[in-house]
């Protein structure tokens, strides 16, 4: 029994870690630009597929480094061409736009790499993919928080989350800041894609299953708080995995139950700011 629980705790950690990486990117974009990026799961798939194509040339380690950066670069192009045009408009337009984008990106992945699943080879050093994936995700999350806390740009992103207008008045180029912030979000998605490809292989909808739990992680953790998103992601990942151990049919339902409970009992989320969600 102890072994079963231990196995599911490990499983919960790894699922939760992916939720966290995905949700942190979504949360960054949501907080600064007020845009829900429906296409985030497709950026994840893109990262994975790019790594699949690049790893024969660059090796796994090179692909692990380069393909998230390429994903971020594509994110920059998309933001410049489309998303930036709808920042000051009704939220309905940003949702429709990223929704349409998700369709196009998914079809593109299917067109380029085929509709069937592909395996992703791992180097011998990563024979224990669970441990290494957890390690990479932990390092990335620590790096992200350090970047937001100690770098000038990170500071501006956090300040912009609270009051973008004042940040603009102080002489920060808000347009560039938003582009960069979007790129950081896509970078995280691309990295999760490479890591997820090593775990579960590649398919064109691989990001879709992560999208809803990531929304829920943000709602549960509290909109506006990245630490909240981190906790929310781990919490629902763990809850889903432990439910799988005892009652597999309810493993999807339990994360929605947690969301409802949070909305009912603590609407601003675990550590969200008061009034941030209104």
């Amino acid at each position: 029994m102890t072994q079963v629980i231990l196995f599911n705790v490990t499983n919960g950690l790894i699922i939760g870690a992916f939720y966290v990486l995905m949700a942190l990117g979504l949360s960054l974009i949501l907080n600064l630009s007020n845009v829900i990026n429906f296409a985030h799961g497709n950026f994840l798939a893109l990262g994975g597929y790019l790594a699949f194509t690049l790893s024969p040339v660059l090796g796994y380690w090179g692909a692990l480094l380069i393909s998230p950066l390429l994903t971020a670069l594509i994110g920059v192009v998309v933001e410049r061409l489309m998303i930036r045009r709808i920042y000051n408009r009704d939220p309905v337009y940003s949702l429709l736009l990223t929704f349409g984008l998700a369709f196009v990106l998914q079809d593109a992945a299917r067109f380029i790499w085929g509709p069937n699943g592909l395996p992703m080879g791992l180097p011998a050093a990563l024979a224990q993919p669970i441990t290494s994936t957890l390690f990479f995700i932990t390092v990335t999350v620590i790096g992200l928080f350090a970047f937001l806390r100690y770098s000038r740009i990170g500071l501006r992103i956090r300040a912009g989350t609270f009051d973008l207008e004042t940040v603009a008045t102080l002489g920060v180029n808000v347009r560039h800041l938003r582009t960069l912030n979007f790129a950081v979000g896509c970078l995280l998605a691309g990295l999760s894609g490479v890591l997820a490809a090593g775990q579960i292989g590649l398919n064109p909808n691989m990001g879709d299953e992560l999208l809803m739990p990531s929304f829920i992680a943000i709602i549960v953790g509290g909109v506006g708080s990245l630490i909240g998103t981190l906790l929310g992601g781990l919490l629902i990942g763990m809850a889903a995995a432990l439910t799988t151990a005892f009652y597999p049919a309810a493993s999807e339902a339990v994360i929605y139950a947690i969301m409802m409970a949070v909305l009912l009992l603590r609407p601003r989320g675990l550590i969200g700011e008061e009034g941030m969600m209104s």
Binding site: I36, L95, L96, F99, V104, F111, F215, A249, Y256, M277
Partner: protein
Amino acid sequence: MTTAVVAASESRSVSRKALLLVAVWAALLTVPLWLPLLGGYTALAGRVLVFGLAAMGLNMLLGFTGVLSFGHAAYFGLGAYGAGLTLRYLVHSTPAAILAGTLLGGLAGSLFGLLIVRRRGVYFAMCTIAFGQLWYYLAYSWNSVTGGFDGLRDFHREAIGFPPMVLDITSGGNSFYYFLLAIFAAAVGLMGFLLRSPFGRTLLAIRENERRARFLGIPIERHIWLSFSISCFFTALAGTLYALLNNFADPLTLHYSLSGYFVVMTVIGGMRTFWGPLLGAAVFVMLQDYISSMTVNWMSFVGVIFILVVLFFPRGLLGMIRRRVAA
């Protein structure tokens, strides 16, 4: 402007509205006459009516209250499943199925609405998306009752009325289309009445300036909740009709993609117009029917349509016409 000019322009806008009304109903009533000439079939018109009603229900919230739900497929799908489950397991009665499905979807929406009325903007939308997916997973995994991924089958719409007054709507012909149209007309009439009432005007006030409305003493949360709930009831009604139309309910009627389709239909037709969503539904259904018969990559076409509408066409068809007339 003098009063005479104002009166003249008002009477012109009233007569324009009457003209639009006559045109809409004349077109809908004569569908079986002209649709085959354009290469369509009557079931397609039924789909337009059903999606149009769902999108008009959504638009009560989106266009007339200014609140964005991206999860209305949940209530549509609950209506469909409610109707299907009633016909399959409880009674073989079409009116009972419609009633049960509408209540199921509407009440689920009303209860969930209580939890989220204080959220605004994208956060409201995010909560509605996430909650909507709950029902998708439920229908998907509760195999024994809902049929799981394959959908709910083995039910069919029943003739309505008692002998000797029986209307046979079981075949796919015109009588079922007119049955749909009658329910559509009743629902849309009720919707128009609600939107013209003081309640509907209050919703407009909230849309235009929520803070001012609050200062005027309007209970904002209660109105948004009412608008959300009523809109869920209309969409659920449309969902029951969809189940009757296809004699089938599948999990995709609960999926958030369909919510996105409802929103894009509303935007294509014109968010702030009453008839816009119906027009948008017509355009969307025709395009989808056409494109999916041409290519397997219809998803990217739909995606491109979404993007083009947002970037170049945000006011929608009726919104643009209205603007041109005003200018």
